[in-house]
């Protein structure tokens, strides 16, 4: 089964319309998608052929009474058992991919808290050593000591993550349900009030990836954009260190973003859409 997945990964199959996934988790999902798409093509195509064959071959040609066949036990058993086997196969592959996508191993390389609210996003990073915010997700953290990235009037908030390591995201909402969705990562998760949900991103390459809220959250649901900027681990470390230093020097400082570094791999989505103020005039 793993071999099959490897084969799929090896041959250059078409993407069938999905992003190929810029995280390891997204890549696992993408391969599962390719498998399901091919299975769908095969099964759906087979049934479609049967329907089309029946339509064309058995058009009324005469007034003869056709044979009044009412059942055929062997065939019926066959098309009960074979789909069950297909379903079991699809389920097994699903569980394998699911375990990879949902895994949250210990000792992540970075820990970020995402707070969703009407109608924007806030990304919290640990404060510096000695600050009251070693882990923003902890209930004992002093929230004022965490490095916070929020959106500006003319720019969506950007979450900075390092590549090549597990980034653990703790997601919650401050009011209603929101959907944290990054298309290029083939991933979304609800931000709920009252409990925190945790998942990992392990980015495969640098780049800018757009994100958006997918769960209806009120009037400006359509405008709840955000960005994910993946940078190298060195860049991430130096960026975070600089923000922590700026924060401890001046508690009201606003974090600056690191410049997006493209390593030549095409980013699979456009950078954040700068929204003018006029769209809020509705």
């Amino acid at each position: 089964m793993v071999g099959g997945a490897l084969v799929l990964a090896g041959c250059k199959l078409p993407t069938f319309g999905e992003y190929s996934g810029s995280t390891t988790q997204g890549r696992s999902e993408f391969h599962l998608w390719q498998l399901f798409f091919i299975a769908g093509l095969v099964v759906g195509g087979f049934v479609l052929l049967l329907i089309l064959w029946a339509i064309f071959k058995y058009r009324r040609k005469s007034e003869d009474m056709p044979k009044q066949t009412q059942y055929h036990t062997t065939v019926e058993i066959l098309y009960t058992v074979v789909p069950i086997l297909i379903v079991i196969g699809l389920f097994v592959f699903t569980v394998l991919a699911e375990n990879k996508v949902d895994a949250t191993p210990a000792h992540p390389g970075a820990t970020i808290t995402v707070n969703a609210f009407q109608w924007g996003w806030e990304f919290e990073y640990p404060g510096g050593p000695g600050s009251g915010c070693a882990n923003p997700a902890s209930s004992s953290a002093n929230q004022n000591d965490c490095v916070k990235v929020i959106g500006q009037t003319t720019q969506d908030p950007t979450m900075v993550i390092p590549t090549g390591t597990n980034v653990q995201i703790n997601l919650k909402s401050l009011d209603v349900l929101h959907g944290f969705y990054v298309p290029a990562f083939n991933f979304s998760r609800y931000a709920s009030p009252g409990y925190t949900t945790t998942f990992d991103f392990n980015a495969l390459h640098t780049g800018d990836f757009r994100g958006q809220c997918t769960q209806l959250c009120g009037l400006y649901h359509s405008l709840m954009f955000f960005n994910v900027r993946a940078v190298t681990q060195a860049q991430y470390a130096s960026w975070l260190h600089a923000q922590q230093a700026a924060l401890s020097a001046n508690p009201s400082s606003v974090p600056k973003l690191p410049s997006g570094v493209s390593n030549g791999t095409a980013s699979t989505s456009s950078p954040s859409n700068n929204l003018g103020g006029d769209l809020y005039g509705d």
Partner: protein
């Protein structure tokens, strides 16, 4: 009111040699049993006409009148919801359209979904067609509880009016989506009585559905004609039985959830809300409400609901395909068991709508959701098997059935994809899901629904619909349908979320949206052709006769339209297609579960002793 003259017809002896047996004496009460609004004195023997005009409609308990009322009302709701859809599509034609404000847009998609799902698809199927057809198909004079049936209709009508009132109240209609997720639907985030009006509308229609469910199950269990065993009922009736049971399973949960939501909104409870409750160490305690609870309750209703919507239409297709293939249903027992399996499984998969919460048992729901493909596949193969080696006649009902098969095939395959949590993570709440559910719902409620309309129209009104116009209707709708929803799959995979009134202009999404809008207007235009067809059949009626399609099931044995209390004569019932057996004694298939000797006796046209 039944005439004395009718009774004497029933008592006439059968014509020898035809094998026709008389309908049972209905034992109508002796003249003298009168109701409150009838002023006639007992025993005169003249015809009592009962109420006329509008009072006749307001007091009717005849399942045929109620069924027609349901169908007409639901089609009106369908047109309203369709117009809302056109506005939605117009808004999305350009990325930052100012046609609608964000608030208006949210109201429109909420009401579009609510009207289509609560006020059209379900009521048309189980309130309309099933009400009309099921008693006829089992040889019953009416539904088991006629006054309850009438009450169901009035609750539905007032519920529909209440829902539409939302547009007239201050603050506008409900705008939290047809699923009304908490906490968005609570009083803080959605103040205004639009939401309350929506809740009350659903309480009314919910009870309407529950009473109809009771009626359906009771009628099918208790009012079948002699010889009409359970395994000789038409598959449409079987599907309605299963639908009735599903209604009883699902709708009470919705109604309870709505009551709780109303309490949260107005009586200060915290069933679904977290705000204002004590967090201990940043975590909620047991004294807090849970938005997740609303989702669990809603989807325990919501998933069986979509099968309540689908199963009747599966039944319609299973009625029509055999007739126009000139063969019996292939795999009758398989169909019945598959329907029951679909219903049973559908009650266990509700949290596949909640995969992205990160708070549900993924493998349990994923496995059961994938498993539903098996009985659905069985039904598909049986439909194909029905057509196999048949003599297919491609008139309008048949074309709509083929349209259903093609639409539901692809919709079903994408549903299997969505049943896999990782794929759902990537596609949830995007236009991929929107395209999926429109394919399955449109395929069932619209294609199969119109197939049923064209098929049973002659029985209901005694006149034919024009087949040529019907084919124009079909082809335009078919082309419009694929043009509307295929681009939505693509743009959903590209990352366009649902329920958005605007989208970025630099992502290349606009061209797909424009195609989709064009398709929507083609669909809209195709309905104009249906209206023209209906009008034409009224102005220049073409008489239909009892059985214009040479159909199989019992309702085609009686007149078009059927008389009061449905049957004056009934044929012997020895298989699931008694009318066919009566008309084509040589083409009797081997019926399920009957002794061979009785089968051969039926072939010899002898009256059964």
């Amino acid at each position: 009111m039944t005439d004395v003259a009718d009774v004497s017809d029933v008592l006439a002896p059968p014509v020898p040699g035809t094998g026709v047996e008389e309908a049972p004496d209905l034992h109508l009460p002796a003249p003298g049993g009168h109701g409150p609004e009838d002023g006639h004195v007992a025993g005169h023997g003249h015809e009592d006409h009962g109420p006329t005009g509008i009072l006749k409609w307001l007091t009717s308990t005849d399942h045929k009148v109620i069924g027609l009322s349901y169908m007409i009302t639901s089609l009106v709701m369908f047109y309203f919801a369709g117009i809302m859809a056109l506005f939605i599509r117009l808004q999305l034609t350009s990325p930052h359209s100012s046609l609608l404000t964000f608030g208006q847009y949210n109201e429109l998609f909420t009401m579009h979904g609510s009207l289509m799902l609560y006020l059209f698809a379900g009521p048309f199927a189980f309130g309309g067609l099933a009400n009309y057809v099921v008693p006829l198909q089992i040889g019953a004079p009416d539904m088991a509880f006629p006054r309850l049936n009438a009450l169901s209709y009035w609750l539905y009508l007032t519920g529909s009016i209440t829902m539409m009132l939302g547009f007239l109240v201050a603050g506008g209609a409900a705008s939290f989506g047809w699923v009304a997720y908490a906490p968005l639907s609570n009083a803080t985030s959605s103040p205004g009585i639009g939401g309350d009006v929506w809740i009350m509308a659903l309480v009314l229609t919910g009870f309407s559905a529950i009473f109809t469910g009771v009626n359906l199950v009771a009628t099918i269990f208790y009012l079948r004609a002699p010889g009409m065993t359970m395994f000789r009922m038409p598959v449409f009736t079987w599907n309605m039985l299963v639908t009735g049971i599903l209604i009883l399973i699902a709708f009470p949960v919705l109604t309870s959830g709505l009551v709780m939501l109303f309490c949260d909104r107005h009586f200060g409870t915290h069933i679904f809300t977290v705000t204002g409750c004590h967090l201990v160490n940043g975590a909620v305690t047991n004294t807090c409400g849970s938005p997740l609870l609303w989702q669990n309750l809603f989807w325990f209703f919501g998933h069986p609901e979509v099968y309540i919507l689908a199963l009747p239409f599966f039944g319609i297709v299973t009625e029509i395909l055999p007739v126009f293939s000139r063969k019996p249903v292939f795999g009758y027992k398989g169909m019945v068991f598959a329907t029951m399996a679909i219903a049973a499984l559908s009650t266990g998969v509700w949290a596949h709508h909640m995969f992205t919460t990160g708070a549900v048992l993924l493998p349990f729901f994923s496995f059961l959701s994938l498993l539903i493909a098996v009985p659905t596949g069985i039904k598909f193969f049986n439909w194909i098997g029905t057509m196999w080696h048949g003599q297919l006649i491609f008139n309008t009902p048949m074309l709509f059935c083929i349209g259903f098969l093609l639409a539901f095939l692809m919709g079903g395959v994408t549903g299997i994809m969505l049943a896999s949590p990782p794929i759902d993570f990537a596609t949830h709440d995007t236009y991929f899901v929107v395209a999926h559910f429109h394919q399955v719902l449109f395929g069932t409620a619209v294609f199969a629904g119109f197939a049923g309309l064209y098929y049973w129209y002659p029985k209901m009104f005694g006149r034919m619909l024009d087949d040529k116009l019907g084919k124009w209707h079909f082809w335009l709708m078919f082309i419009g349908f694929w043009l509307t929803f295929m681009p939505q799959y693509v743009v959903g995979l590209l990352g366009m979320p649902r329920r958005v009134a605007s989208y970025p202009s630099n992502l290349g999404w606009q061209s797909y949206n424009v195609l989709s809008t064009i398709g929507a207007f083609i669909i809209a235009f195709s309905f104009a052709i249906l209206l023209w067809n209906l009008w034409k059949s009224w102005r220049k009626p073409v008489p239909a006769g009892d059985n214009p399609w040479d159909a199989h099931t019992l309702e085609w044995f009686t007149t078009s339209p059927p008389p009061h209390h449905n049957y004056t004569h009934l044929p012997p019932i020895r298989s699931e297609r008694p009318t066919w057996d009566y008309n084509h004694p040589d083409a009797v298939a081997v019926p399920h579960g009957i002794a061979a000797e009785t089968a051969s006796r039926a072939r010899k046209k002898e009256p059964v002793a």
